[in-house]
């Protein structure tokens, strides 16, 4: 016989006591609910009118870097309804009082019936007078209530329409119909942070929907959403908008601080007033926006790629130097305005003679770039340009940021087929035409990288306390930066520089490069990008769609922006 295995005394008694203790706890709660308060609860359940009313939380306020409010909340009146308590024979009456079409009202009542025991918003954004008509008749409208709720308000709706966006009715409601959520821009991207926590009121109501008493467990106050401060400067943004408008064209301006990575201006003209979208945009207004020939829905500062034209030369020049194709002293054959190569004519905009790379940047000589880039490799130039922020989005937050494009063998083989393209494509690309496409924010980044000498921090639109340095280092040598900077400096200060006439008068040294980008059969796009060191480290890019010459059309816009920056610093000192 096997020996009986040793097993200690099992804790039978304590486990039974444990169970009895908890069962007694449960029974005592049952006694409380069913015997002590049984009548109260039976009363409640016979009517079952504990009503939950959600109190919307105010959305977080969005401010610019100087504390100027860009989006906040204004009080507005709403009419809400608890579906099970509403007598449908009152639909006509309610329709009259709200001056709302009966079909429209019926569809909203049907929506309210999805959450039959909870208060559901029927209409919002009423004036005191409109809400007052309903409020006066509440006694015969069981289940209907009039409330004040926070309503989104945009201070510069048109100017920040693409960045901040707007709110609309949420697609899927968590608590009640009529809940808001961000539909576009930062309102959508930062929705979780901007949305607060809904508060709740519990009420016991009678069969007519009148409040008999507050439920004993009390209310939960709404907690407002997080306030958000942007790095943008609303004053500079508004100035940029009006400068673009003054040219009579559509366009965009981007400015950023290249020591902190903070984006200061993201202007895109024309815009649309986001306040029109609050509470649902009318069909008339929506069609007006859709049919506007200026295409206000198009966001030009970061979502639209354009041929960058000669502004790209600051990148291709850096590539020529870094790839060892040219040095500072290399003087290729002269520019005779037209360069014949392989049976084609490659045109320059002027006759520049023999010059080095600084001169080629100063006067924006295309021939210099044709004659030198043909010695290089297309894929290497594309790869080099990627280091300067081209060919991919430059931020991780701006919604729908465009990548732009860079010509590679692979791309050209896809577009033109094997052998359908040649060295000419590389030569054209080196002056920012052909297959090169970039957004204004990318062209501002290229200038910022040259300005910062390869230590541009990660770009941001949200103000924080700390910045990480040097995230954007293409590995270019300091000597190359110096040469490009010299070319950009002389483009402004030399009397033959392309932006001398529009920007040379400014009291601070400006470093800039203009661009006049050919655009099919349409008028050229006018570009300028560049930077200043004083009074603040700011890089910028301007595009005026179909504006013509970069130096004479985009240049004055950039100059106006710099004047506004100087004014800001003058005021603060």
């Amino acid at each position: 016989m096997r020996s009986i295995p040793h097993f200690h005394n099992r804790p039978f008694r304590s486990v039974i006591m444990f169970m009895i203790f908890f069962f007694l706890l449960l029974v005592s709660k049952l006694i409380e609910l069913q015997m002590v308060k049984g009548d109260y609860y039976r009363e409640l359940s016979s009517k079952n009118h504990i009503r939950l009313i959600a109190k919307p939380a105010p959305r977080g306020i969005i401010r610019d870097r100087n504390g100027v409010v860009l989006a906040d909340n204004a009080p507005a009146f709403t009419v809400s309804l608890v579906s099970v308590e509403f007598d449908s024979t009152n639909t006509m009456l309610l329709s009259d009082l709200l001056k709302m079409d009966i079909v429209e009202l019926n569809s909203r009542l049907a929506a309210a019936n999805n959450t039959p025991f909870r208060s559901t918003e029927i209409i919002s954004g009423l004036t005191v007078q409109e809400a007052g008509r309903v409020a006066d008749n509440l006694y015969r409208l069981g289940g209907v209530s009039v409330d004040v709720v926070p309503r989104r308000r945009y201070s510069f709706g048109t100017s920040f329409c693409h960045l901040i966006g707007y709110v609309g009715l949420a697609d899927s409601t968590r608590v009640f119909e009529g809940e808001l959520s961000g539909r576009t821009g930062l309102e959508r991207i930062l929705n979780d942070r901007l949305t607060g926590e809904y508060g709740l009121i519990r009420e016991v109501v009678d069969a007519h929907g009148r409040v008999v008493e507050k439920f004993e467990e009390g209310d939960i106050e709404p907690s407002p959403g997080e306030n958000i401060t942007l790095t943008l400067d609303s004053r500079l943004q508004l100035v940029s908008d009006s400068l673009i408008r003054a040219t009579g064209h559509q366009g965009a301006v981007v400015a950023l601080n290249y020591e902190t990575g903070e984006i200061l201006v993201l202007s895109s003209v024309p815009g649309y007033d986001t306040n029109l979208f609050i509470g649902g945009i009318s069909i008339k207004n929506w069609e007006a926006i859709l049919n506007d020939p200026g295409k206000p829905l198009l966001n030009r500062s970061w979502a639209t790629p354009y041929p960058p034209g000669s502004t790209y030369k600051i990148v291709s020049a850096a590539w020529l130097l870094e790839a060892g194709i040219v040095t500072e002293n290399t003087m290729p054959d002269p520019c005779y305005r037209t360069f014949h190569f392989a049976g084609s004519d490659f045109r320059c905009w002027g006759t520049h003679g023999r010059q080095n790379i600084v001169g080629a940047l100063t006067q924006s000589c295309d021939t210099y770039f044709y004659r030198t880039s043909m010695l290089g490799d297309m894929d290497e130039m594309a790869e080099f340009s990627r280091g300067y922020g081209m060919g991919a989005p430059v931020t991780d937050i701006l919604p729908g940021e465009a990548s732009g494009a860079l010509p590679t063998r692979e791309l050209l083989n896809t577009v033109f087929g094997q052998g359908g393209w040649g060295l000419g494509n590389l030569m054209i690309a080196s002056i920012g035409q052909g297959e090169v496409l970039a957004t204004p924010i990318q062209m501002a980044v290229t200038a910022a990288i040259i300005a910062s000498g390869g230590s541009l921090p990660q770009l941001s639109v949200l103000k924080t306390d700390s910045y990480n340095d040097g995230n954007w280092n293409p590995g270019t040598s300091e000597n190359t930066y110096r040469i490009i900077r010299q070319g950009m400096k002389l483009a402004v200060s030399s009397s033959v520089g392309t932006v001398h006439r529009s920007m040379g008068y400014l009291p601070v040294q400006v470093f800039a490069k203009s661009g006049t980008a050919e655009n099919g059969d349409n008028e050229d796009h006018a570009w300028v990008n560049g930077y200043i060191q004083e009074p603040a480290p700011i890089a910028f890019a301007v595009i005026i769609e179909n504006g013509g010459s970069g130096g004479s059309v985009a240049g004055p816009v950039a100059a106006g922006l710099i004047e506004a920056i100087l004014e800001s610093y003058h005021e603060t000192q």
């Binding site: 486990v15 169970m19 609910l33 409640l44 359940s45 997080e226």
Partner: protein, 397 residues
């Protein structure tokens, strides 16, 4: 190995009554969806077959299958994490079957600890207990990742019940759990003081070495200090997201709406109840999840205090009979298996009814034998079958 005990009528009668009451209640709770009731009838029929099979299954063979069960559960749990379906992604769909892997994991946990814990108690192996806690802890963590914090914590409670029954003592369990207690107690200063007092008392009673004192006091102090700081670093929406992730039933926006409706339903039952099919909260569909999580509220509304007391007593009798068998069993595996079933029932009854009464957090734990659903009912019938087996075979070793 022939059964050497007469039929345990206490066990059989209370089990049969519970199953019948469950069906009666399901008929009422299913409201207009009578298909729920017919499904439940099928589940009960399968459950009875499973019970009879388990009651006559050789327990030694079960003991041998523990490692296979473990691997099987692991596979099911991992599959659920990646391919889970259903409202919270906790069901595993295999052909026409919707399986809740966590129910099988609970069963595995009981068999696993029944096999290993007595052995470890008898002859301790270096690192043996840690190894056991690690292997069984994987089951708990995988369940938590489903995500199902409620079931995971019930598995943890089950595990510590088993450790206690195996004779490892309370202080050991407390010290093991002390980091969790420290984090929880840090919410309030007074509760933290209470925790420290209990910790010191247990360390004193177990005659701990100074090294152990320092280790536990420093560890728990650091955790208690870090928890509020770590929580505070999160933004409110992150906190909300975390709590909703860990416990989707918490209903952070409805703020206790379900529990309030449940309290109204239970309270309106009064002493004798509103009567079968007459519960207004239930019949008017005010009660949320009334055939699943809040099934007890339906019963309490329609049958009142007396009915609720009767139901709890049936559970009490069942647990008492199983524990008695576990106490008597000579074979440690049999004893542990029975005790595990008793703990399983106890935890589920207390947590589920406590939730409907507003005394416990809202989790998805079912009420044994009553809540709608096949996975848990069949698991329970399986466990009850094995424990009836241990009751009748208490003399075997």
């Amino acid at each position: 190995m022939r059964p050497n005990e007469k039929t345990d009528w206490f066990f059989i009668v209370s089990l049969v009554l519970l199953v019948i009451l469950g069906l009666i209640n399901m008929y009422s709770a299913s409201g207009s969806q009578k298909s729920l009731f017919t499904h439940q009838l099928v589940f009960v029929a399968i459950g009875i077959i499973v019970f009879l099979g388990a009651a006559n299954f050789p327990l030694r063979l079960l003991e041998e299958t523990a490692p296979f069960l473990y691997v099987f559960s692991l596979i099911l749990l991992i599959l659920t994490i990646f391919f889970g379906s259903g409202p919270a992604g906790r069901w595993l769909q295999i052909g026409p079957l919707n399986l809740q892997a966590s129910e099988i994991a609970k069963f595995t946990l009981i068999v696993l600890s029944s096999r290993w814990l007595p052995a470890l108690k008898r002859e301790s192996i270096t690192g043996g207990v840690s190894l056991f806690l690690f292997t069984s802890g994987i089951l708990v963590v995988l369940t938590m990742l489903q995500p199902d914090l409620g079931t995971a914590s019930s598995m943890l409670m089950l595990l510590f019940g088993m450790i206690y029954w195996a004779g490892f003592g309370f202080s050991w369990i407390f010290l093991f759990l002390s980091p969790i207690f420290a984090a929880l107690s840090s919410i309030k200063f007074t509760s933290w003081i209470g925790f420290v007092v209990v910790l010191c008392w247990i360390l004193y009673r177990s005659a701990a070495k100074p090294r152990k004192w320092v280790f536990f006091l420093v560890l728990t102090s650091v955790i208690a200090a870090a928890t509020p700081a770590a929580w505070g670093l999160l933004r409110p929406y992150q906190q909300a997201r975390l709590t909703t992730f860990l416990n989707p039933e918490a209903d952070p926006y409805g703020a206790g709406w379900n529990v309030i409706q449940s309290s109204v339903a239970i309270g309106s039952g009064g002493i004798i109840g509103q009567g079968f099919l007459k519960g207004s909260q239930n019949e008017l569909a005010f009660l949320p999840a009334r055939h699943t999580d809040f099934v007890f509220s339906v019963w309490a509304e329609e049958w009142g205090f007396l009915g609720s007391l009767f139901l709890l007593s049936l559970y009490g009798i069942l647990i008492w009979r199983i524990l008695l068998g576990a106490k008597r069993s000579i074979n440690p595996f049999n004893s542990m298996l029975g005790a595990g079933t008793a703990f399983f029932l106890m935890i589920h009854v207390i947590v589920n009814t406590g939730m409907t009464l507003g005394m416990m957090p809202v989790t998805g734990l079912p009420l044994p034998l009553i809540t709608y659903g096949g996975s848990h009912l069949i698991t329970e019938m399986l466990l009850l079958g094995f424990s009836y087996n241990t009751i009748r075979n208490w003399r075997s070793y």
